[in-house]
Every structure is written in structure tokens, then in C-alpha cells.
């Protein structure tokens, strides 16, 4: 007995513990049933999502060159229906939590309600953290969490069919940056990961699918560029030595090595960078890179004369237990990005600069020059902006707003020309003249019914404000999503920040 009471023997004994054979089979059966009970969305998860980190050092030129615009496809048809319709329809979730979506009778599309989506997550023991409407795509993106200790998941719900697709999520901590199209959603990842202690420089995760009927099977990791004025923090809190500092063609590289005597410990932590904060120095065109708990071991004389097109000089100094690297930047340096390379025994951190904000590419779009007559913009009180792009839909208080530029109604339509602009399935409730900074516009209040295929008689409450230019009509669409009484006054306030081009 005594021989068993030693840690070595104890560990040997405990290592013999395992699942009883019957229990092993039983548990897998339960897991399998749970997997099989997953709604269609998870079927796509079984398509392996590929993550690729694209090279961030040659991307700028291509990105800047490509100006993605949607001018070529001026929207002439208003989207049919909106998320607000969904609030009053019957729940489409069955007791198992799986939405009742399949009706083989005629193949017609079935709408799903927000309530049904909410119920779906409740039944799957997931907490909904955010639900964002994208009326232009008839879609909702739901951010949910299964376990507070892990990162959130994002799902794309097609409100017309009820189909749900996993976009991206665990283990990366992220937020939606931009819905590029119905087939592409761009997320900004914080750099943190719920399954590893590493904290990378923030980056984009670009979730894509081939078409609306395919899963979002591809997720590319892309470099994120930030204005020089924006502070960024990352790193894993390692205690290291800054042993290498050099300039590259478009930035700087820092290499880390172990503190003498702690090489063994460094080996375990070698795949990370020290806690790093990058911030601009007010009043100077300089960037301060603070490396927490780091020792400086760089030959100062080697720093002299280091420069490239973006960096005019490099200095490094000790500040308490930290190291500070100061980069004096040229006027060319307007944006920066970063990455941590952990593939080798000594981790390195790269900072890259650019003089233009890299524009996110729209895969399906062709690069064309923007017609200045399409340059209309709405600035929300919180600073967000909306432009005539079906990807850009913003919720403000009780309305969901979007902009479009469309053809002027035909002359023969006369005073009723606005009906052409409002579009199909609309029952006009009222119309009146309103003032905008650009001049008089027409405010139309109407209810829109769903198309026949939707098999729904629910109508949505909508407004649109039409400003007639000399060549185009500029339209501010507003779906009521909340208190209808407040919606109109909120919309009227927004008109003050609506800019339309002259001419």
C-alpha cells in the first residue's frame, strides 16, 4: 500500500482511468445525435474553412489601385420587405429548436421571424449578443456565445429562406467590420484567441462563399491597416530582450531573444511578443512603440542612418522596465499594420507602413471610377456614414437607413413619379415636401407588403425621402424598426446631415 502512496505511483495509477467501454460507446452516440441534430448551418461547418494569411507586404499597391464601386449597378428596385416584418409572423421553430423551414409543397420561400431565430439560440443554450439587420440582403447576422470563456460565433440568417450559415467565430475574438456583399463579410479580429495565450496584431478575417446557396467555407486572414493616429495594443506579456531592430523596405522589424539565464523559460514562450503598445506622439510625426518588461540589447550605433521611404529615423531607449522604440515618420506614412512571426525560435514583429488606406476589395466588383454625381452621403449623429452601397445599411434609433441613387422617373409619370421610385408592393400612406440642406425633397410614407413567394400578408412600415437632382434621383430609404411614432422625427433629424451632389 505504501508503495502506491508516492506521486509517481499515483500518477501511474491515475493514468489507468478511462471511460468504461459501454460508456464510451454511449457517449459517442449522444455526441453524434447532437451533431446530427444541428440545423443546416452546421453542415457547412463540416466543410473545412481554410484560413490563409495573405502577404501583407505587397498588398497595398493592389488594394489602392482597386476602387470598388457599385456605380455600374445602380439599384433601381427597392428591396422587398425588411426585418421589421418578421416581428409579427408566426414562429417557425419546432420544439427541437430547429427552424421549420422546409415546405416541399411548392418550393416557395418561407420567411423566418426574429422571434424564431431568438428561440433557436435559446434552444441551443446560446446567448445572443447582437442581432444586426441587413435589409438589402434580407439577412440578419447574429453574434452568439455558448460559453463566456470562448470567443463568440457569427451566423448569417437568410430571412427569406430561414437558412443559417456559420460565418466565423471561435476561437478568434472579432467584430463585424463590413458586410461587403451577401457573399462576403469582413471581420476585424482583436488578435486574441480563446484557445491560446497569444495576442497578435489585429487583423481581418474575410468570410466568403461562392454564392448565396453555398456555405461560407473560406475565411482568409488579412492584414489590417490603421491610421497612424490610432493606438494599438497586442502581445502576450512575455519578458524578453529586444535584440534586433532593422528597417525593411516599408517598415521595421524587431526580433526578440531570451533573457540570459532564462533561455529555458523563453523556449516555452518563444512564440510570442512582449506586451506592446503603439501610439503616435502628439504634435510630432512620430510613433512610439512601448515594449513592456523588455530589455534593450541593440547596438545604438547600428540604428544611426536607418531609414526608408516611411521611416526617417529609428531610436530605442530603456524606460523603467520597458523598452521604447521611437520611429520618426516621413509624410508618406499615413497607415500602419503589423504581424508577429512565431515560426522560428526567435519571434519577430513586423510593422509595415502605407501612404494610402488600403481599400477592401469586393470580389465580384469591377474597378471603375466613381461618377461624382453618385457621391451622396448621410452622416449619422454617432459619426457613422452611409453611402449608396447596398452593403451599407445603418440602424439609427427606430429606423434602418440606406441610400441609393436611381434614375429620374419618366416625365409622363408627372407628380406621381415618386411611386416609380418607391417601387413595388407599396401602399402609399402619405407624401409631403420636406427641407434638406440640398433643398426641397419629398418624404413618402408607405407600407410594403411581402412578395407572393413569401406567403406572408405582413406589411412593413417604411419611409423614403427623394431628392430630385438634374440627372438622378437621390433616395434615403428608412425602414421603421422600432417605435413608428418616433421614426419620422428621427428621420427628419437625419436629413440635416444628408449631402447630395450639386448638379
Amino acid at each position: 500500500m505504501n508503495s502506491m502512496r508516492k506521486p509517481d505511483d499515483a500518477s501511474k495509477t491515475l493514468s489507468k482511468i478511462g471511460l468504461a467501454p459501454g460508456k464510451r460507446v454511449e457517449l459517442w452516440d449522444v455526441i453524434e445525435r447532437r451533431i446530427d441534430a444541428e440545423p443546416p448551418t452546421d453542415a457547412q461547418q463540416e466543410t473545412r474553412t481554410t484560413f490563409r494569411r495573405r502577404s501583407m507586404w505587397g498588398q497595398v499597391g493592389a488594394a489602392v489601385a482597386a476602387v470598388a464601386i457599385l456605380a455600374a449597378s445602380l439599384p433601381t428596385v427597392i428591396h422587398q420587405g425588411s426585418s421589421s416584418e418578421l416581428n409579427n409572423t408566426t414562429s417557425l421553430v419546432n420544439p427541437s429548436g430547429r427552424p421549420n423551414l422546409d415546405n416541399p409543397s411548392n418550393g416557395a420561400a418561407h420567411r423566418i421571424t426574429v422571434d424564431a431565430i431568438t428561440q433557436y439560440y435559446a434552444n441551443n443554450h446560446r446567448q445572443i449578443l447582437a442581432m444586426t439587420s441587413y435589409p438589402a440582403y434580407h439577412a440578419e447576422i447574429v453574434e452568439s456565445n455558448l460559453d463566456p470563456t470562448v470567443a463568440n460565433d457569427f451566423d448569417w440568417w437568410d430571412m427569406d429562406t430561414g437558412k443559417v450559415e456559420f460565418l466565423a467565430g471561435r476561437p478568434f475574438y472579432m467584430s463585424i467590420d463590413q458586410v461587403v456583399s451577401e457573399n462576403e463579410v469582413l471581420f476585424l479580429a482583436t488578435g486574441g484567441n480563446s484557445e491560446s495565450p497569444f495576442v497578435d496584431f489585429p487583423y481581418y478575417i474575410d468570410a466568403k462563399r461562392a454564392d448565396a446557396n453555398s456555405p461560407f467555407a473560406d475565411a482568409n486572414l488579412q492584414a489590417a491597416y490603421f491610421p497612424i493616429e490610432k493606438s494599438i495594443a497586442f502581445g502576450d506579456g512575455k519578458v524578453e530582450v529586444l535584440s534586433q531592430l532593422s528597417v525593411t523596405s516599408n517598415g521595421v522589424t524587431m526580433g526578440y531573444s531570451p533573457i540570459k539565464g532564462q533561455e529555458g523559460s523563453f523556449a516555452a514562450d518563444s512564440t510570442g511578443a512582449p506586451k506592446t503598445t503603439i501610439s503616435s506622439i502628439p504634435g510630432k510625426n512620430e510613433l512610439l512603440i512601448n515594449l513592456k518588461n523588455t530589455t534593450l540589447h541593440v547596438n545604438q550605433t547600428q540604428l544611426q542612418g536607418m531609414k526608408n521611404v516611411f521611416v526617417e529615423s529609428v531610436a530605442a531607449q530603456t524606460s523603467g522596465s520597458d523598452v521604447q522604440v521611437i520611429l520618426k515618420l516621413s509624410k508618406q506614412a499615413k497607415f500602419y499594420t503589423g504581424s508577429i512571426d512565431r515560426q522560428f525560435s526567435m519571434p519577430t514583429m513586423h510593422l509595415g507602413f502605407a501612404n494610402e488606406a488600403p481599400i477592401k476589395l469586393v470580389d465580384s466588383g469591377t474597378s471603375e471610377q466613381t461618377n461624382p454625381l453618385f457621391n451622396t452621403i448621410l452622416t449619422l449623429p454617432d459619426g457613422r456614414t452611409v453611402t449608396p452601397n447596398p452593403n451599407l445599411v445603418a440602424r439609427w434609433q427606430d429606423v434602418i437607413v440606406s441610400l441609393r441613387v436611381t434614375s429620374l422617373p419618366p416625365a409622363y409619370a408627372g407628380a406621381d413619379g415618386y411611386i416609380e421610385i418607391v417601387g413595388n408592393h407599396a401602399v402609399i400612406l402619405s407624401h409631403e415636401n420636406v427641407s434638406t440642406p440640398a433643398g426641397q425633397a419629398l418624404l413618402v410614407h408607405f407600407q410594403r407588403t411581402a412578395p407572393a413567394a413569401a406567403q406572408s400578408n405582413v406589411a412593413t412600415d417604411e419611409y423614403c425621402v427623394i431628392f430630385y437632382g438634374s440627372e438622378y434621383a437621390y433616395v434615403l430609404d428608412a425602414d421603421v424598426n422600432g417605435n413608428p411614432r418616433m421614426a419620422k422625427s428621427e428621420l427628419m433629424q437625419l436629413l440635416n446631415q444628408w449631402e447630395v451632389p450639386n448638379g
Binding site: 500500500m1 502506491m4 502512496r5 508516492k6 506521486p7 509517481d8 499515483a10 500518477s11 495509477t13 491515475l14 493514468s15 489507468k16 482511468i17 478511462g18 471511460l19 468504461a20 467501454p21 460508456k23 464510451r24 457517449l27 459517442w28 449522444v30 455526441i31 453524434e32 447532437r34 451533431i35 452546421d42 453542415a43 461547418q45 463540416e46 466543410t47 473545412r48 474553412t49 484560413f51 455558448l146 460559453d147 463566456p148 470563456t149 470562448v150 460565433d153 456559420f166 466565423a168 467565430g169 471561435r170 476561437p171 478568434f172 480563446s194 484557445e195 491560446s196 495565450p197 475565411a219 532564462q262 529555458g264 523559460s265 523556449a267 516555452a268 514562450d269
Partner: protein
Amino acid sequence: MESDAKQAVHRLYEAYADDVYRFARLMLHNENDAHDVVQEVFYRALKGWPTFRHDASELTWLTSITRNYIFDLIQKRRNSMQFLSTYTPPYLADEQMDAENVMMIENAVANLKENYRQVFILRHVQDLSVADTAKILGWSLGKVRITDLRALAKLRDELAWGKEVHSHNEFNAQT
């Protein structure tokens, strides 16, 4: 026909279900909770499979998921002031082992504080390397080593002092 992800997770289950169960059982000291952990971990593995980048080994990845989930459960237990109240003897690969002795050892491990317990289990029961343990726990190599030494010393004390199972009301055997 199984999909790729399901097939992969089934393979992981066949290879590592015992490891997940053992870690969960020794951390939580509850048979039913350990079974729940096994279910949840492999379900999460399936959900996370598309994003698993193979930076770490599959066992390290699974153990990380297990550890995260276990700590959530421990946190919930703390919040609800639940304490260990049952003991179910485990299935042992070696039938010659003395069940009472296993119970005493499990009790000794249960008496270790969490940090000691998890390091001891990962390093000596699961036989993971110091580097893998450091990765799973998010600790430095040095911290793993020091904690490990302290855990072994403490466990040695627990075992040597012969803290008897019967002296712990919360450790009543079920047969």
C-alpha cells in the same frame, strides 16, 4: 456517410476520449460531470474543427478546450456553492488495481489546490510535456516547472500523511 469534420472528430474521440475524461474527472471529481465534459468537448471540437489551425497537437488543442470548459464549470460550482458529495469508482484499464487505493489517490489529488491539481494531472497523469502544459495553461515554462515541483511535494504530503478517505464527509463512496 460521415462528413470530414465528423469523421475527424470521431477519430479524435477514439484516440483521446479517455484523456479528456480522465482530466475532467480528476479536476471535477464527479463522474457525471466528467461524462458531460466529454460530450461537450467533442461537440466543441466539431464546431471548432474548421478553425483549428494545427498550431498545436490535437491532444493539446482538445485539452485546452477541456480546460476552458472545466474552469467554467468550477466557476459555476463556486457561484452556487456546490461541493463534492459523491464518489463513483472509475473504470480502470488494469483490473488488478486496488479500487480503494485509487479512491485514496483521487482524494489526495482532489485536495490539491487547482493550479497544483491541473499541472500534476497534465504533466504526470496525461504525460504531457512541459511545453504543451505551458501552452494549454498559458503559463511560462518556468511557472509550469515550479508549480509542478510544488504540486508533487504537496501531493507527496497528502499521500504520506494518509489523509483518510473516511475523514472527509464529502467523499462518501458509492458502490
